[in-house]
Amino acid sequence: MHRHSTHFFSCMAALMLAASTLCVHGLLVSQWAGPSLAQKSALVRTLRLTDLCLFTEASYTRHSSMADLSTPFQDSPCAFEHFPSGSLLAPPRHLSGVHPSRMTVTKNDR
């Protein structure tokens, strides 16, 4: 029989089921990830790593635990951000390799 509450309950049940399936997925996968995490830990130990490779734009983002407040001036050409505002600005075009003047230089080289 057609009842709105029946539809609602079945939708909720379906979503709950999906959510619990994902919970099981999470538990299983994070358990299976044990060996891979151990392997990563081993890599950290043998290579004496200090940081995750998340952002390779600048030294302070690549090795953020090695950075301090006096480092913003020692970064690579494409490094631009240190404070959150940096994430909202693109690097200047003359540094990004698509600048017209740089393009012509490359052409002349060839």
């Binding site: 709105h4 200090t50 490779c53 635990s65």
Partner: protein, 377 residues
């Protein structure tokens, strides 16, 4: 018991029937609401999983690292410092750590050269991270070239590519032998990048760090706890940026929901009057409003979090990639271990479902307690 259950069910029937009358508006509301919760839960899933992984993996990071600063920048540290630090009581060993960056102008990418302390690759060969292998289309056996400090090209045979599953640590790494790296980078033989210390007792980390700065004032020791703390904090502002972007959307939603939930339209007012006139009690009307809020917000919450989980842990946070990779050309794929914090989920629930439901109930409160005659008039 069954009577109460039937009462709830009948009121839900009515609530949904009345929500379905404004399919477009309520549908849009549900979609936007779901999207907001999807974004919020994605950010929380992502940052939490990354933090957990960082905390777990970096547990093995060096206990203390000593850097040298000169003219306000990091400079290579003289190997002679190692001998002086070793004399501090409690220090078990001091090993030089040699590493550095390399900017590849052709690919606009930054690499990290690392010299393994044990079992470095043979001279003339390198082991590269999977990110570099992908970027430069290099596989084992290929020759890979870099420009030395003196402008001379140097080439090495790729001995091995590091496993893809460790790319969160190693995507941009190049493992190389010490002599090759000194030749490539031009770093003098008596200098190294920094020093790695082993200490007898972990309780002494802070005192030893203090002793080092006293002994060698131009050095800066970094304790493992500080490394771990960095990763707890950096994602806060990283996720903070996402939240800044997200909050403008959320704010728009709040206004929308506020308008929807608090502004009781003349029609809704009249409806409540009718319900009261035909014999609904104030509590029945409020129960109906409670379900109205809950139907929308619970659906959005469940749908949003399920989609958020799928997005982050099955879809590798594909929507965040533009934000995360920033301006870099070399970045890992974010295949994270699905560590889920139920406390965070409860917080999302408390911050979305609860206030929404309450803002749906509150405005009807007064009308629900009035005489139906004065509402209908």
């Amino acid at each position: 018991m069954t009577g109460n259950f039937e009462r709830q069910r009948s009121i839900i029937d009515f609530t949904i029937a009345s929500l379905l009358r404004r399919k477009g508006k309520n549908g849009a509301l549900l979609v936007v609401y779901t999207l907001i919760i999807f974004l919020l839960s994605s950010v929380i899933f992502f940052t939490h999983a990354l933090k957990r992984e960082a905390a777990q993996v970096l547990q093995e990071a060096p206990e203390i690292i000593v850097q040298r600063t000169l003219t306000g920048r990091y400079q290579p540290i003289p190997l002679s410092y190692a001998a002086r630090i070793r004399e501090i009581r409690g220090v078990v060993s001091v090993r030089p750590r040699l590493w550095g960056y390399y900017y590849d102008g052709n690919f606009l990418a930054n690499y990290t050269f690392v010299i393994p302390d044990e079992f470095p690759p043979p001279v003339g060969s390198v082991i590269i991270g999977s990110g570099i292998a992908k970027l430069r289309e290099a596989s084992p056996g290929d020759i890979i070239g870099f420009t030395g400090y003196d402008g001379k090209p140097q080439s090495y045979r790729v001995k091995e590519v590091l496993a893809e599953q460790s790319q969160l640590l190693s995507a941009d790494l190049i493992l190389i032998s010490e002599s090759d790296y000194r030749a490539l980078s031009g770093i003098p033989a008596d200098l190294t990048t920094d020093l790695v210390l082993k200490v007898r007792n972990r309780k002494e980390f802070a005192t030893i760090a203090e002793k080092i700065t006293k002994l060698l004032p131009d050095t800066r020791p970094i304790i493992r706890n500080e490394i771990l703390r960095t990763y707890d904090a950096i994602f806060s502002w990283r996720s903070g940026i996402v939240i800044v972007i997200f909050s403008s959307a959320a704010l728009a939603f709040v206004i929308f929901a506020w308008d929807k939930a608090t502004g009781l339209s003349a029609e809704e007012r009249k409806e409540i009057g009718i319900l009261k006139a035909v014999g609904w009690e104030s509590s029945d009307v409020l129960l109906m409003k409670f379900w109205e809020g809950l139907v929308i917000s619970l659906s959005a919450f469940l749908l949003g979090t399920v989609l958020g989980y799928i997005h982050v842990f099955i879809g590798s946070s594909i929507l965040f990639v533009p934000v995360l990779k920033g301006w870099s050309t070399l970045y890992p794929e974010f295949k994270l271990v699905p560590f889920v914090d139920f406390g965070h989920l409860a917080a999302i629930f408390a911050l979305t479902v609860v206030p929404y439901t309450i803002t749906t109930i509150i405005p009807s409160w007064r009308v629900a307690t009035m005489d139906p005659d004065s509402v209908l008039r």
